[in-house]
Amino acid sequence: MTHGNVIGKGVPRVDARGKVTGQTKYAADIRLPGMHYGKIVFSPHPRARVLEIDCRAAESMPGVRKVITARNLPGSNRYGYDVAHRPVLVPEGEETRYIGDAVAMVVASSEELADRAAAAIAVRYELLAPLTSPRQAMEPGAYLVHAEAAGNRCCLREFVHGDVAVGFQTSEVVVEQTYFTPRQEQAFLEPESGVAYQDDSGVLHVISCLQDPYGVAEDIHLALAIPKSRIHVKGTPVGGGFGGKLNTTIQVHLAAMACLAEVPVMLVLDREESFAFHPKRHPTEIRLKLGAGRDGTIHALEGDVIADAGPYSGRSPEVLGLTMSALMGPYRIPNVLTRAEGIYTNNLDSGAFRGFGAPQAAIARECLLDKLARALAMDPLELRRRNFLRPGDRPTSPMLGDSPVSLELLTERIVEKLGPKPSAPKNSTKRIGRSICFDMPVFDVGAIPVLGKSGVGAAVEVHSDGSVSVYAGGTELGQGVTTVLAQMAAEQFGLPMDRIRVEMSDNWTCPRAGRTSASRLTFGLGNALLLATGRLRQTLLVRAGKMLEIAAEDLVLEGSEVRLVGVPAKALAFAEVAWMCSDRGDNLREEGWFRSAEDRYMYGHTFMAAAADVAVDIATGEIEILKLANVLDMGRVLNPAMAFGQLYGGAIQALGYGLMENMVTVDGQSKTPSFAEYVIPSALDIPEEFVAEGVETPYPTGPFGAKGIGEAALNCTTPTLLNAIADALGVEITAVPIGQEHILAAVRNQKLM
């Protein structure tokens, strides 16, 4: 296989022109003939019994096509990932579980009429006291959010390795701390939206922004009893997902509207509805304990995570499984006991968000490592290096992987990137702090008993004119997967980028590819694509060999030709060979199916280092990030421009997580219902010096040696910032986000002024 033609080059994104010129059609831009508009009536109360829903006034309003309650719905009225216990619409007599629960829906001829009709639906509620903290929900006698979930326990994940009792007995220094992490909102720009219609053959088409067309089809089937063979789900270009669109969002509701109103329906949530509706990053309370010898060797780690799972299960068992697994990080720890528990409440829902439970773990682990370093009077970087996984080690985690360990290389590179530690100007109230942290973010390789349904398919077709279509069921979320797949196909066939078209996110036209999460597409779809293109290359080479009367092994695909190695004159145009294949009846469409062996190598690890220099003004509490650096072992960088875009974006989300973001609820109601209250970083908050770097340790399992990087940069950037601030002040940080006033309080408590 030759490569280097387009692989590794910062070729422009294939979707750049449309997005830059505004021509790209997002779900809300779609217009269909006869299209009506839907509106969902959400419960204003986190917990209330629905006594009566009176639709009469709404039904008699002009332009109203259909008013829908649970009574009208066909099927089970239940859907949901993990446990199908979420009602599409809460029926009369049942209780709502959070403010994102829907009770009724309207379809009308205009948005305005749909709004008015929705407002005319009179719902009588019996208000009940909501459960608003996991601690409260765990108490004996607490009301049960789901009758079958004793103690309101959504999930419990445990990992045991060695014997922690022995580990702590042999430890000379033991440190322990409890950390609190906030609820973080994905803050995607495009709200949940889509259109749906039933065609004349009875097929339901749902066209919507999503991260998993197959999961959406599954949920529609579960809730509405429509055969899967009659459900077509097509993903539109996504204006941000970050995990918030991983589970089915509004698509079941939309499908029900289209089927019952018997017209095409568009549904777009407004910002407040969107914020209230979709699952966020789990708020957690993490108690973590580390034991080590005087020389810094870690003997034991014990961790206990309690997370607010919100009202429904969804991704909680998977996310918290990762939190539990990620507490150990890239370190050798002989004795481990970690557990993570998800607890149902009536707060906002919790689920997938870039990093998938690992960022919480990284905060606790890396902050406690700094505390251990202080207790040992040891340099925190030295402490980490003494405990690094070494080449050939298995990770101290249930998530085993096959990625070569490159922590020393990352250390070398990040120290070089940082340079000498800056010093504060004389007579200044500024204090300088520095931190370097490490992580080993996972990406999904395929056969994962925890996650299931992880095989990935991709199809490739060479047309008789020599152009190529790729069918890949993953979703373009802005991460650039469409471009990366086109690069791979172009490389494989020796064609320019513009000969490749990539069709994505469609459960009918694309082989099953599962969800777009776990930083898995470049890796999984890429491998499936290579299997398919490998077979097609063979077909083309054999046909060209016959045409040229040369052995296929002596031919290569490059420069849009099939060439004899070393004899440029002896060549056929790629298009001519494709035409001949087509003419002679060769199969020019192949499907690749990729999954790893079931019993091993379940994950890939993208080892990373993050570093920060900060200046903290002890007079005002201002935090200035002087430098922020991320270095990741990406295996092979397929497209540097896009890869570094991912690293910068992840680091900025991590900055927001540590310094400003918190989706606050009081009594189950959101106190940050829109972007006016929920603050995320702006362009002005980006560090003065912002470095992202890749190192490349060949990773044979990856397509062209590449690894998954979509989530990675977020993981340990937050604790790096926290530790740098703590280093500047000599204080401990145990709760995020941390703002000026927290710095001032710490300064006062420590009598630093």
Partner: protein
């Protein structure tokens, strides 16, 4: 969604007549950056909206003697661009510059920022510190009200239902007077202030504080003057010790609440730290304009 009639009155007389006819169901729209939000959230549900964004008597920035008169419909971006404001009321210019985004500053007006009466309004502390007064026009003619009396609570003012704010008057500041503004938000732009504050100081030839105004926002039901802190400074030297004492008094006299942006005790810490920084900036030689920083 709310539906209302939209009227663009050609004169103040038409506006007053319209407001009278609409009784209690009329609303005045200057920039709309607050009104639209209120309408959408249901806090305001006017039957008629009167647009004064182009109404000439509400539009000018005029130097009248040593006073500065600003029309209620003057936009934040116009304040930022005005040499007169930068010269005579630099703290106000700084506040306007730090408010929200360029797009919002092109719409949001000075009058709107005052009438909305948000405790966190950024333009209010500079005006309060400068003893600004407001010109209110009603059926019975005009009346002039000190800003400090105009604001009566969160979202509450003494503006009558058929009255409009037409002008803001900033009295002349002494030649040696300096002013500054500080905004503390969760990010560096487009954040509602956790606290904001403005100060002006006049230091005599003898080196003692002749006059001082310190106004604090988002730490009481309305923006407030830190009278105790001011009292502690007048007639005294602006020494580090005296400034620190004044800052501590400001923190003591403010009455912050806890909300989604910060706790009350956190705000008190910020008031002390930033009042001290503000006073130091005011007493330093040179720059009359404040940057003001965000966390």
């Amino acid at each position: 969604m709310v539906y209302f009639d939209y009227v663009k009155p050609p004169t103040l007389e038409h506006l007053l007549e319209g407001l009278r006819q609409a009784r209690f169901e009329g609303a005045v729209l200057a920039g709309g950056t607050d009104l639209h939000v209120k309408i959408r959230s249901g806090v305001a549900c006017p039957r008629v909206v009167f647009d004064i964004s182009d109404l000439a008597p509400c539009r000018g920035i005029v130097e009248q003697g040593n006073h500065l008169r600003l029309g209620a419909a003057v936009r934040m971006s116009e304040i930022v661009a005005s040499a007169a404001v930068r010269r005579k009321a630099p703290a106000l210019a700084a506040a306007a510059l730090q408010m929200s985004s360029r797009q919002i500053r092109n719409r949001a007006t000075l009058g709107g920022n005052i009438v909305t009466a948000s405790p966190a309004a950024d333009a209010v502390p500079p005006l309060l510190a400068a003893d600004a007064t407001l010109v209110l026009l009603g059926a019975d003619g005009t009346r002039e009200v000190p800003l400090a009396e105009f604001l009566t609570g969160p979202g509450k003012t003494c503006l009558g239902k058929s009255e409009v704010l037409t002008e803001v008057v900033i009295p002349s500041q002494g030649p040696g007077c300096r002013s500054h503004f500080v905004k503390v938000g969760r990010r560096k732009a487009q954040a509602i202030s956790i606290i904001n504050l403005a100060g002006r100081i006049d230091i005599g030839q003898d080196g003692l504080v002749r006059d001082v105004g310190i106004a604090l926002g988002a730490v009481a039901p309305t923006a407030m003057r830190a009278r105790q802190a001011e009292k502690a400074l007048i007639g005294r030297a602006p020494s580090a010790k005296n400034l620190a004492e004044a800052a501590a008094l400001a923190a003591e006299e403010c009455r912050p609440i806890s909300d989604v942006r910060a706790t009350g005790s956190g705000r008190r810490l910020l008031v002390e730290a930033w009042t001290l920084r503000l006073l130091h900036l005011l007493c330093e030689t040179g720059g009359a304009r404040s940057g003001g920083r965000n966390s």
